[in-house]
């Protein structure tokens, strides 16, 4: 079922829910008063209960089911009013938390299924370039040779001798056009960080420390991709969605909050 975008707006939901609440509260012309001890179930109320039953069950209730539903409605109404009379709703952390999370949820669900247009995503990228600053370095492609030594001193000594031979290792001696994500997985975070700080060239450099020991490195090339909308589109869409969820919660809150005057003694 595809619905127009306005149906996904939390503000519309609030408005609709408000209207429903208003209608419900003013049904029959007399707003129910929690402090009143009269519960009247007339034709209108019965119809409402039946409707609600039908909505959830997909068929009309039988007479017996309707009677049962009315009894349950009355029972709940009695206990609900008594609870209000006793002030159970006030200062109850669970009631508060429950209501708050319900409000938040109604604002965020709309964004979870929203489909942003390309313009929206391009705008998001333009507004949040910092989110993708690391993306380029993570996706940089590098080619290098490396020799492993178990101590820093041995590595330095080998470097001064022209770095001909390292110790036996199952690590690859040459890595060709590998993205930094893979380098990080194979050589570890420490080595990857060290490699980022090197400039490409034909000389042996280092040593760089890793969990395996000390590496002399000849970084022959590093290609850093231009930040590119097409390759980032997936991440941008996901980040946009996360940001939307947060923002909608915040916006819904701000809208509601604007109706309040808040006095804080500081």
């Amino acid at each position: 079922m595809n619905l127009p975008n306005w149906t996904r707006e939390p503000l519309v939901h609030f408005a609709v829910m408000g209207a429903v609440l208003y209608v419900a509260l003013t049904w029959g012309g007399t707003p129910p008063d929690p402090s009143s001890r009269v519960i009247s179930v007339g034709a209108a109320e019965e119809e409402k209960i039946a409707e609600s039953w039908t909505l959830t069950m997909g068929r009309s209730p039988t007479d017996a089911e309707l009677d049962q539903a009315i009894d349950a409605f009355v029972r709940e109404e009695v206990l609900y009013r008594e609870a209000l009379r006793l002030g159970f709703d006030e200062g109850d952390a669970i009631v508060r938390r429950r209501l708050v999370s319900k409000m938040d949820l109604s604002a965020s669900l709309a964004a979870e299924t929203a489909d942003p247009t390309e313009e929206v995503l391009r705008a998001f990228l333009a507004e949040n370039p910092e989110l993708y600053a690391d993306e380029a370095s993570v996706n940089a492609s590098v080619s290098f040779d490396q020799l492993l030594f178990s101590s820093e001193a041995e590595a330095h000594a080998a470097l001064s001798r022209g770095a001909q031979r390292g110790e036996a290792t199952s690590l690859p001696g040459s890595v060709t056009e590998s993205i930094m994500r893979d380098v990080e997985a194979r050589f570890g975070l420490q080595f990857a960080q060290g490699l980022r700080d090197l400039e490409p060239g034909l000389d042996w450099q280092g040593p760089l420390a890793s969990g395996f020991g000390w590496h002399l490195v000849r970084l022959t090339s590093r290609e850093v991709p231009e930040p590119n909308f097409e390759t980032l589109q997936v991440s941008i869409a996901n980040d946009w969605r996360s940001a939307q969820i947060k923002e909608r919660k915040e916006r819904a809150y701000e809208t509601l909050r604007s109706a309040y005057r808040i006095d804080i003694d500081r």
Binding site: M1, L55, A72, E76, I94, E112, A168
Partner: protein
């Protein structure tokens, strides 16, 4: 009552907003939505292990939500990819290194049901569902986190004893109600699935547990949503494993897709996971064995709820066999039935691999020729496997519950299991030629995968005939693949002892290695199952000799006061060529490799230091451990 759950879903969705009723049709690119074939350039041979968790629960799992988790699939995927998310209990959290793949495996039974139940109006639960027990659980869920945990404990016990209220157990209405969640989830998975970067696989957990005996499987799909949308998760309550396998066959025939199942926690099955017979006690048929072997190429050998490699009772000569057994080996999942040691042989991987050899000798088919992986089974949406970043089995023992290590963790109802019995969780390593759904899945299917208890050590094994030390000097990976088989493969007995190229590199950001062992299981001349652990290479071999056939312990650098260790002992890399010294022609055998790290702090020691919690003597004795990896075996088959 049959439609009650479907109705709850719609009632609560209507209450929340119409948009959620959309069918979740994917708007993602074809590359992301498919199985990843032809999307990236593949390596000639698998060139590195890809790291993942195949067993993560989100708030769509009936128990996870009840335990308090409020993070869904979206947050789960972001977290696994390495991004920071805010845990349910409020603190920001992140993996130190991203994972490469993730299977979200929510329970198929009552998928999303507790979330829907929780969000339903009370009047609805009261007079539409009209079940006293469900209403009581509803009230408990709203009362407090502790009561909610208790309610879910009762629900799990009820499921274990097959007395879940009809309103929650009916497969038909459950399927209707969960289709919507499943489709939404598939769309989210496609959005986060990025060939070459991160693989998001569809799956769920099939949660059968007759009488509380754990027979759970994680079901994992190779395909994108074009195919997975054509199915719905298969219910675990009141169904059997052979029915699950038929469902899987049906899925493949209908869609042309691929699916496999991964049994987990056989250690809580009281011997039922790997029986010598069919489930009803009758002799096993070759058809059953073949179907099982097809459906279940890999098992989960280690996770938060204990380790299932082997048990000291089964392997008395294996001094490393007791890892992850405390708290888990005296009863089944729900603790409704105690475990008798006679049940162990059907509950652990090594004995099951041995049983497989026997059954193969009898029937010609091996039902238990499986590889091994680790995973978390975390119920927090957070796929954490590291000891210094343990977010708990479920939200009721996230880090904000600082006393969690010493608290009872028996789901609120029973005695016997405590927080410190939990392991921090394992990970799965897959030797694949690239990071796509198809490549990762195929690595599982050919068993070229291994288990770790959390650290990311790189372990490579090739089996063949005539490997020598000289092979290390050349391109040994190419030699391994062309002259032998990798882990998970099979060799045919040709009259010569098999030899193995074995390489283990430490987790580059973790602890050094203590030793590498080969575990051999075989049938002797009279058909009796035998096992032997060989230390094949270890650190400081020239100074650490053997005495009484055993290698001296590596030592222990862990400082109990501040939960630190040093890499002054152990080795960064261990490798060797090993030839079976006890080979006999015509023997059926398997060989797998176990790699041990030097001792490091467990999560309990980090908790003790960070939160100032005092561990009991027993928990303190268990607060340091040697983490490990188990590879899939290589089988030596007799000539056919």
């Amino acid at each position: 009552m049959r439609k009650a759950w479907a109705a709850i879903a719609c009632a609560s969705i209507l209450a929340i907003g119409v948009s959620a009723c959309s069918d979740g049709e994917s708007e993602t690119s074809a590359e992301q939505a498919g199985d990843g074939t032809d999307t990236i350039e593949l390596a000639e041979f698998p060139d590195r292990p890809y790291w993942g968790d195949t067993h993560l629960h989100t708030d769509n799992s009936v128990d996870a939500f009840g335990f308090g988790t409020r993070l869904g699939p979206e947050e789960a995927l972001r977290f696994a990819r390495g991004e920071e998310v805010t845990a349910t209990t409020g603190a920001p959290t992140q993996l130190s290194r991203p994972l490469d793949f993730l299977v979200i495996a929510d329970h198929s039974d009552a998928l999303g049901a507790t979330r829907r139940l929780y969000d339903a109006p009370r009047w609805y639960v009261n007079w539409v569902i009209g079940d006293e027990t469900v209403l009581r659980w509803y009230d408990m869920m709203h009362e407090s986190p502790e009561q909610s945990t208790r309610a879910i404990g009762e629900l799990i016990s009820a499921a274990a004893e097959d007395r879940v209220p009809e309103a929650m157990a009916d497969p038909e209405s459950a399927a209707e109600a969960t289709k919507d969640i499943w489709n939404t989830q598939l769309s989210i998975l496609d959005r986060y699935n990025e060939p070459g970067v991160f693989t998001a696989l569809a799956g769920y957990e099939w949660t059968a547990m007759p009488n509380g005996n754990n027979l759970h499987r994680v079901v994992m799909f190779r395909d994108g949503s074009d195919k997975t949308r054509q199915t719905v998760p298969f219910p675990g309550l009141q169904t059997t494993a052979p029915q699950l396998w038929e469902y899987m066959k049906g899925y493949e025939e209908e869609t042309g897709g691929r699916v496999l199942a991964i049994p987990h926690n056989p250690n809580l099955s009281n011997g039922l996971m790997f029986q010598m017979t069919m489930e009803d006690g009758s002799p096993m048929t070759p058809e059953y064995a073949a179907l099982r072997a097809w459906a279940e190429p890999v098992i989960e050998a280690t996770q938060i709820k204990g380790d299932s490699e082997t048990h000291p009772y089964l392997s008395p000569n294996d001094e490393m066999a007791s890892f992850g057994e405390k708290g888990w080996d005296f009863g089944n999942l729900s603790l409704s039935e105690k475990t008798d040691p006679s049940m162990y042989a059907g509950s652990y991987a090594r004995s099951a691999l041995l049983r497989g050899l026997t059954l193969e000798q009898q029937m010609g088919v091996n039902p238990y020729a499986f590889g091994m992986i680790g995973s978390t089974d975390s119920h927090t949406s957070l796929a954490t496997g590291d000891e210094d970043n343990f977010w708990g089995k479920h939200t009721g023992n996230e880090q904000s519950y600082t006393e969690r290590a010493m608290q009872g963790q028996n789901l609120g109802t029973r005695e016997g299991r405590f927080g410190w019995h939990y392991l921090a969780g394992g990970y799965a390593a897959a030797w694949a030629k690239g990071n796509t759904r198809a490549e990762i899945f195929d690595a599982f299917a050919r068993r070229e995968v291994y288990a770790t208890t959390g650290p990311r050590m790189t372990v490579r094994v090739f089996g063949g005939f005539g490997f020598t030390a000289a092979d290390w000097d050349g391109n040994w990976v190419r030699e391994g693949y062309t002259r032998g088989v990798p882990m998970g493969g099979e060799l045919e007995d040709q009259g010569d002892a098999p030899s193995f190229l074995i390489s283990a590199m430490k987790d580059p950001d973790g602890a050094n290695l203590d030793r590498v062992q080969v575990i051999k299981g075989w049938l002797d001349a009279s058909g009796v199952m035998q096992e032997q652990v060989y230390d094949v290479v270890w650190s400081d071999m020239d100074t650490r000799g053997r005495s009484g056939g055993r290698v001296a312990p590596v030592g222990d650098t862990v400082n109990r006061d501040d939960a630190t260790y040093t890499n002054d002992i152990g080795a960064a890399e261990l490798r060797t060529t090993w030839t079976d010294p006890d080979y006999r022609q015509g023997q059926r055998a398997f060989y797998y490799v176990r790699v041990l790290e030097i001792p490091t702090p467990r999560w309990t020691l980090f908790d003790a230091v960070r939160f100032g919690v005092t561990l009991s003597e027993e928990a303190m004795a268990d607060a340091v451990a040697q983490e490990r990896a188990y590879t899939s075996p290589i089988w030596l088959k007799t000539q056919s």
